[in-house]
């Protein structure tokens, strides 16, 4: 992919470098000279963009993502976990946002006062049965890519999600976020990795939902659960429930 930008850039630069002097000195046409200069400018931009492509190929990234997902899915299936994951902000963990999957589904979680330890199997509530496994999701990793931590407004969550999904990962075209009292509605258009009815997604949500949930949780500084996820007419709709 990087080569196509480089080839385009070199082609435009070469064409512009030849065309601009010919237009100016031989044809004596200023507009055609300007076209040549514009071609050089766009050519240099293409070359610059070609150099900013990731070092790892998309196929290698997909392989790594799939390996991680299949390992987590195997763990979830083996333990028979069906409850929806709760995305925790970094302040509730040891500096790293992660997803918590309760062993027993509980609608009204009574959280422990201290930080949840950085282990795989943890106790998260005041009741003895409140045990869960904590896993790292694509959303957990992406928080580190944000230059500044988003604030608790829909605009800031939308900007952070757009930056990650559109600018950094390029897996969506646009993101719209609306924030109600205990609910965050997210609409993602042109999503490349949309929801599938598999065990991993039922539990942790699709990678896009996971990223949006992790960003929302970090922005609101509250645990967040993916309540609903649907895909229709090229748009993914994600409903997040903000837990107290």
């Amino acid at each position: 992919m990087s080569n196509s930008y480089r080839i385009l850039g070199l082609g435009l630069c070469l064409a512009g470098t030849i065309f601009a002097p010919i237009s100016y000195f031989i044809i004596s046409s200023v507009p055609l000279t300007a076209v040549g200069i514009s071609a050089i400018m766009i050519g240099f931009t293409c070359i610059a963009l070609a150099n900013t492509r990731p070092y790892i190929s998309p196929e290698a990234c997909q392989l790594i993502l799939k390996t991680g997902m299949e390992n987590t899915a195997a763990l979830l299936e083996e333990l028979g976990l069906r409850s929806k994951a709760v995305y925790l902000p970094s302040t509730m963990r040891d500096g790293h946002p992660q997803a918590l999957i309760p062993l027993v589904e509980d609608e009204d979680i009574q959280w422990v006062r201290e930080k949840i330890p950085g282990r795989l199997i943890v106790r998260y509530g005041v009741n003895p049965d409140d045990m869960a496994i904590v896993v790292t999701t694509p959303g957990s990793i992406n928080i580190d890519m944000l230059e500044t931590k988003p604030g608790p407004t829909s605009g800031e969550i939308e900007a952070a999600a757009t930056y990650i999904l559109e600018g950094v990962l390029d897996i969506a075209n646009s993101v719209t976020v609306s924030l109600a009292d205990v609910q965050v509605d997210v609409e993602v258009s042109g999503a490349k990795l949309h929801y599938e009815d598999i065990w991993y997604y039922r539990c942790l949500g699709s990678p896009i939902a996971s990223i949006v949930a992790a960003i929302s949780s970090e922005a609101l500084q509250k645990p967040v659960r993916i309540k609903e996820e649907s895909y229709s007419k090229g748009k993914s709709r994600i409903v997040l429930e903000v837990l107290s």
Binding site: A34, S38, N51, T52, V168, D170
Partner: protein, 85 residues
């Protein structure tokens, strides 16, 4: 890389439109074409704030070079005006 494609297409469309419009209105000063093309480039680049940090750094470098060219042209124009006085 859809965002890169969108950016390149918008740059190409904007510069084509500007060159056509200026030619249509009979503009024959190369400096005017250059300045307006640079301004368009800077504005469009500024609108794509969601680029990844590496892309933004690379585009900022090009932007600085173009802005320097823009300033040189402005400086020459100012000197020309002042020497005329």
């Amino acid at each position: 890389m859809r965002i890169y494609n969108k950016y390149i297409v918008s740059l190409a469309l904007a510069s084509s439109l500007i060159n056509i419009l200026l030619a249509f209105f009979g503009q024959n000063d190369l400096e005017i074409y250059f300045i307006i093309n640079i301004l368009t480039y800077l504005i469009i680049t500024l609108l794509y704030i969601y680029f990844n940090p590496r892309a933004r750094r690379a585009l900022n470098t090009i932007g600085v070079v173009l802005f320097a060219g823009f300033m040189v042209i402005i400086a020459f124009e100012v000197m020309e005006i002042l020497s005329g006085i």
